[in-house]
Amino acid sequence: MWQEFSGTIILQWLGFSGKLGEALHFFLYDTIKIWFLLLSIIFAVSFLRTWFNTEKVRAYLAGKREFTGNILAALFGIITPFCTCSAIPLFLGFLQARIPIGVTFSFLISAPLNNEIAIAMLFGLFGWKITAIYIGFGLFVAILGGWVIGRFNVEKYVLISVPPLSGDIEIPTYRPKFSERLNDAWGNTRDIFHKIYLWVMVGVGVGAWFHGYVPAEFIAQYAGGSAWYTVPVAVLMGIPMYSSAAGVMPLVEVLTQKGMLLGSALSFMMAVTALSLPEAIILKQILHIRLIALFFAIITAGIMGIGFIFNTIL
C-alpha cells in the first residue's frame, strides 16, 4: 500500500521517471518504512526490557551449572538492556557472583549481537525468517563461544581483583508503574532513533543509488560469487563498522537482492554487531590482551562458520 503511494508521489506528482525516478521511489519507500519499523520494534523491545535488568539476570544465573548457564546467559543477552559503556561493571559483577567466566562471555557475545537496532533493521529489511535465522545462529555462536572460552584456563587473564559482595546479592526492589514503563520505553526509543535516523537515510540513499544505477552483474562479480574468500572479507569489513548497523543493513539488503550470497551477508551483519572494537578497548582495562584476542578469534571463527555453511547449503 505504502509502496504504491510512494510510487505515486515520486513518479506522478513530482514527475520523475527513468532510473532517477526508480531510485527516488526506492529511497522514499525504504526510508519511511524502516523509520516506522524501527520506532515500533525498538519501542516494543524497550518496553519488554523494563522487566529485566542485569542485576536480576545475575541473581538468576548465579549458581547455574556451566552448560545450562551458557544457554541461559545467551538467551538473557537478547532481552537485557546492555550498553558497551557498562561492560566492565557487568563483567566484574558476574565474576563477583561466581558465575563462570565462559558463561559471562556467552552473555557478552549475545547482548550486542542481539541488540534492538539490529533486530529491528533485520525484521524491516529481510522479514521474520532471516531475523529468526540471525538470532538463532547468534545464540549458537554465543553459547558455543562462551563454552569454548570456559575450556581454556583464562581466569588468570583477569587483571583486576574482584571485590567480594557484602552480604547477599541485592536486587533493587523498586517496581515501576505501567505508565512509567511506557514512558521509559518511549524515552529510550526516542534516544536511539535520534542517534540513527540519519544513518538510515545515508544507508538507504547509497542503497537506492545501487538499486537504480549499479548493474547486478557488477555486484555479483565483486560481492556475490561463491569464492571461499567472500566470507572472511565480509567479516573483516564488518569489524570497523560497529554501531553503524542502521546504515549498513540497508546496503546489505540491496546487495543480496543483486546477487550477494546470504551466508556472506549474514557473516557480515554479525561481524558488524558482535565484533565491537570499542568494547574490546574498554575491556582491555581489566582483561589481558590474550583473553580479548581469544574472545575475538572465537567469535570470528563462529561467524565465518555460519557464512560458509549458508553459502554451501543455499
Partner: protein, 78 residues
C-alpha cells in the same frame, strides 16, 4: 540524608547527577550528594548497570536516568 550517584563517567551518569541536584533543590530537604566513580565501591553495592542511585546506603535504581519528579518522590518516600 545522603544520596550517592554511582557511575564511571558515562554521559548518562552526569545526566543523572544533574537531575538529582535539581530534585534536591526542588524538595527543599537538606541532602548530601556524592558522586561515586570508584569501581570497587560500585561493585560493593552490587550494581552492574550504571548509573545507579543510592539513598542512605540503599540501592533504589540502576541503569537508567530518572526524571526529576521520580527522584523527588524517592527522596520524600525515604
Amino acid at each position: 540524608m545522603k544520596i550517592e550517584i554511582l557511575g564511571t563517567g558515562c554521559s548518562k551518569c552526569n545526566e543523572l547527577e544533574m537531575k538529582v541536584k535539581q530534585a534536591v533543590a526542588q524538595s527543599g530537604i537538606f541532602v548530601q550528594i556524592e558522586k561515586v566513580s570508584d569501581l570497587q565501591k560500585i561493585m560493593g553495592y552490587g550494581v552492574m548497570s550504571t548509573p545507579g542511585l543510592v539513598i542512605d546506603g540503599k540501592v533504589v535504581s540502576t541503569g537508567k536516568v530518572l526524571s526529576v519528579n521520580e527522584i523527588v518522590e524517592l527522596i520524600k518516600a525515604h
